[in-house]
Amino acid sequence: MGTTGSFRAGLAARLCVGILAVLAVSAGAVIVAGAAPALNVQVDGSRAKAVHRIDPYGHVNPFPDEDPVDGKPLKPAKIDPNAKPVMPVSMKNTCGQCHDYDKIRAGWHFNAANPGATAGRPGEPWILYDGKTGTQAPLSYRKWTGTFRPEQFGVSRWRRTMWFGGHSTGGGVSEPDVAHDEDLAIHSRWTASGALDINCLGCHSADPKHDQSVWAMQVSQQNFLGAAAAAADLITIHGAVAKADEAFDPFAARDDYNPGPTVSYNPGRIDAAGKMFFNVGKPSSDRCYYCHSDRYVGPDVPEQAAHADEDVHLAAGMECIDCHRNEIGHKISRGVQGEGHETLTCRGCHLGVEGEGAAGLPGRLGAPRPKHAGLPPVHMKKLSCTACHSGPWPGKQAYRVQTSRSHRMGAKGVYRGEDSPPYIAAPVFRRQDNGVIAPHKMLWPSYWGRLRKGQVVPIGPKEVVAMAEYELETAGKVADKLDEAGRPVKGLNEQQIIATLKKIASVDRKALADAKADAKATGDPEVAIESKGEPVYISGGWLHSLDAADVLTSREHDAAKPYGWALAHGVRPAGRALGSSSSRGCRDCHSADAPFCFGEAIAEGPAVIGTPTTVRMHELQGLNGAYLKSLALSFEGRVMFKVYGFVAAGVVAVVLIVYGFFGLAGLLRRNRPAA
C-alpha cells in the first residue's frame, strides 16, 4: 500500500465526512425552515386585547422591472421614515406577518371573483349608474341570478376598483394579477397606483380618528398604496397618483423623471425603536356602518325609518359582530339559514337549533324566546323571521331606499338628495328561491343592449356614448314632466331613446357591412359574420325597441325583470312586528288593503317613458289576489266565528256532561244492592 495509498484512503475518508456534514447541515436547515410557526394562532385564549406595537412593513411591487434573482417572491421591507421614497405602511405585509393573509382573502368580503367561491344567497350588488346613458345595472362577480358580470358593461377590474373601491374593503379584484389580461389593459394604471390590498384597519381599527371617508377620497385619487394608512391617520399623502404620468413608479425615488405624490408619517406614529402602534380591536358597528347603512327617503316613509331608529339588537347594546362572526378565514356568518353558523341565525339564537348540543340552545346572548302566541305554524315555514320583524313598517308602496355602497353614503363631497339615483325600492315582499317569503330591496335594471336569439347582450355606457353621444345629448327636450311635488322629473325621454336606438342600429349595420367587405376582400367566408342583434333599451320593467316604422314599442322580457336582495335590518321591537297583538293583529297582513299582500313596488329607473311597471307584492309571492282578498274577508268575521264556534262547542260539551251524569246515575242505580 505505501504512503500514497494511505494518503488516498485518508482523503476519501475526509471527503465522505465533509459530504455527510454538508448533508447534515442542509437537512437541519430544511427542518428548521419547515418548523416555522403557523400564522395567526391565538394560543392562550386570553380575551384581553392584544396590543399591536409592531414593526411596520411596506408594499411589494406587483410589477417589478426584473424578476427576482433567486426566483423567490420579493419580501417586504420594514418601514424607514427616512428612506427615499418613504413608503406607506402596508396592511397586507404588516398584519400578514402574523395573520395568514391568504386565508383571510378567501373570506366573504374579498372572494367574490374567486373561481371556487360560493355564491351564497343573493346580496347587494355593485350598482353601475350612468345618468347620461340611462344605465342602472346590478353588477357582481358572484353568480347571482339577475346580476351582470362587470366586464359585460366594460367595467374592468381597474374601473371596478376606481368606481366602487371607496366603499370596498380592498383586496379581491383590486389586487392586480399579471396573469389576468384585464389588469394589463391600456386604461389600467396599476403600475402607477399599485395594488389596493385588503384594508384590515377598515374593519379592525379601534381608533376614533380612523376615517373611512379618507380611504374613499384616496382611492378616488388612485393613491392605492397609502389609502389604508391615510384613513388610519398614520400618514399624510401629498399629491395624487391620478395626476401623475402613467409611467410613474411609486417604488422609485421622486425626481424630475418620476414626479408623483409623496408620503410622510404623522408625528409620533413611529417610535424610537421603529415600531408603530396599531389601535386594533374587535370591529365596532361604526366600522360596519360605513358600507352597510341605508336610509329610506320620500314623504311616506314612517317616522321611525326617517329618523333612523336603530336595529333593536344594537339599541340593546349588541354589536354587529356579536352575530356576524368569523374565524381567520373571514367567512362571516350572514345570518342565513343553510350557510353554516346555524346557531347565529335569528332562529338559532331565539329558538335554538336541534342537534347542535349546548351551542344550539335558545337564549344565546340573552335572546328572548318568542312565544308567537296565536301564530299558526305554517307562518314559521312560509315566512322568514325578517318578513314580520325587519325593515320599515310597510306602506301602500315600497319606499325608495339609499344604501352606503350605491349612494356613496359617508363619503364627503358627494351630493345625495332624496331623489338621487340609483333607484332602489324596499321593502318588497317576494318569495325566495327556497320558497320562503322575505322582504327585499329591489332594483329594476336599465341599460342598452342588443337582442339576439331571445337574449339581451348588454352594451356598456362607454360604448353607448362612443356610438350615440350626440343623440343622447341633443335629441328632444329633457322631459318636462313634473312629479307630485311639482319637481321636474329627470331622465332620458322617448325622443332620446328613439334617436339612440336608431344610431346604434346604424352603427351596427355599417360595422357589419365593413366586416363583410373585409372578409370578401381577404377571401374569408362571410357565413360566420352575423348581425350583433336588434338594439334595445331595458328600463322600467320593459324592453323598448323600434318597430318597422321606427315607433318605440314596449314589451315584457326576462331581461327587464328586477333584481332583489333580502334585507334583514333594522329589526323592529317585538311589539312592532307585523301581526303583533299591539297592532291590528292578524289583519296587518290578512286584510284587503294589507301592504304585505297588496302593496305596490314601482319600477323606477333613469328613463321617463310611458308608465313604469307596477307590481303588487302578492304577484311576487306567487299568490292569487282573489284568494287573498277572500281570506282577508274571513278575518273580518273572525271574532263572530269564534263566538259562534265556542257557543256550538259549549252546547255539545254541556250535553256530553249532562248525559254523562245521567249515564253515571243510571249505572249507580243498577248496581245498588237491593234493599
Binding site: 296565536g374 284568494y627 250535553v655 256530553l656 245521567f662 243510571g666
Partner: protein
C-alpha cells in the same frame, strides 16, 4: 306518521265492514215494497242530519287531502274547509240538542247486544228508536266532533305558540280520523245492514215492517203513545 296511522285505520275499518257484511250483513230481512209507513225523522231532524253530513263530508275531503301529504292546509282549500267546518260545528250542536235524549242507554240495549242484534240483523232483536250501535255512533261522533272543533277554536286565541298550535292541529287531525271511521261504520249500517234507512233522510218516513224488524220497541211506544216524532 299520520299517513300511516290513518291508512291502516281506514283499511282496517273497511276490512271489518267487509267481514261483517260477509258474515251477517247479507242476511238482513227483505223489507222492500212496504206500503204501510210511519214518520221517523221530522223536517228539523233531516235538516240537522243534512247539515252535519254535508259539513263533515266537505271538511273531510279538504282536510284529509292536506293531512295525507303532511302539508299545512292553505289556499282556497283552507277557505272551503272553514266553510264546511263552520257548517259542521253548528249542525253538531243542533244534533246534540235534537238527539241526545233519544240516545240515552237503556236496559234493552244490553239485551239487544246479548241477543246478537249487532251481528244477526235477521234475528229481529227488539230495539228502541235507536239501537245500541246507533247510540254508540252518536256519542262517539259527539266526542270526536267536539275534539275536532275545540282545538281549532283554541288555536285561534292568542294562547298557544306555533308548537302548541301544532299539537292542537294534530288533535284535530286524529279526532277527524276517528270521526271518519265512525261515519264509515254508520253509513254501512244505515245503507246495507238496515237497508231502507237512506230514504228516511229524504222523506222522513220508514216502512212499518222495517221499523218492527229493527226498532220494535220504538214502534210499540209510538203506537202506544201516538207520539208524533216531528
Amino acid at each position: 306518521m299520520y299517513q300511516v296511522i290513518s291508512t291502516v285505520a281506514v283499511l282496517s275499518t273497511v276490512v271489518a265492514i267487509l267481514i261483517h257484511f260477509v258474515v251477517a250483513g247479507r242476511k238482513g230481512p227483505d223489507l222492500a215494497g212496504d206500503t204501510d209507513v210511519m214518520r221517523r225523522m221530522g223536517l228539523w231532524a233531516r235538516l240537522v242530519h243534512l247539515g252535519i253530513g254535508f259539513g263533515f263530508l266537505g271538511a273531510a275531503v279538504t282536510g284529509f287531502q292536506a293531512a295525507m301529504v303532511e302539508e299545512a292546509l292553505t289556499g282556497i282549500w283552507l277557505l272551503v274547509h272553514f266553510v264546511f267546518g263552520a257548517t259542521f260545528m253548528g249542525a253538531l250542536a243542533a244534533a246534540a240538542l235534537t238527539w241526545a235524549d233519544g240516545h240515552r242507554f237503556e236496559k234493552h240495549d244490553a239485551e239487544w247486544f246479548a241477543a246478537g242484534g249487532w251481528i244477526r240483523p235477521e234475528a229481529g232483536v227488539p230495539a228502541g228508536r235507536f239501537d245500541l250501535m246507533d247510540k254508540l255512533f252518536f256519542w262517539t261522533a259527539m266526542v270526536a266532533g267536539l275534539s275536532a272543533v275545540l282545538p281549532i277554536l283554541l288555536s285561534m286565541l292568542p294562547i298557544f305558540g306555533p308548537e302548541g298550535i301544532a299539537v292542537l292541529e294534530h288533535v284535530h287531525a286524529y279526532a277527524g280520523l276517528a270521526l271518519l271511521l265512525a261515519v264509515l261504520w254508520h253509513m254501512y249500517r244505515a245503507m246495507v245492514v238496515k237497508s231502507g234507512a237512506l230514504s228516511v233522510l229524504v222523506t222522513g218516513m220508514v216502512g212499518v215492517r222495517w221499523a218492527r224488524a229493527h226498532h220494535a220497541i220504538w214502534v210499540k211506544r209510538v203506537r202506544r203513545d201516538r207520539i208524533d216524532v216531528g
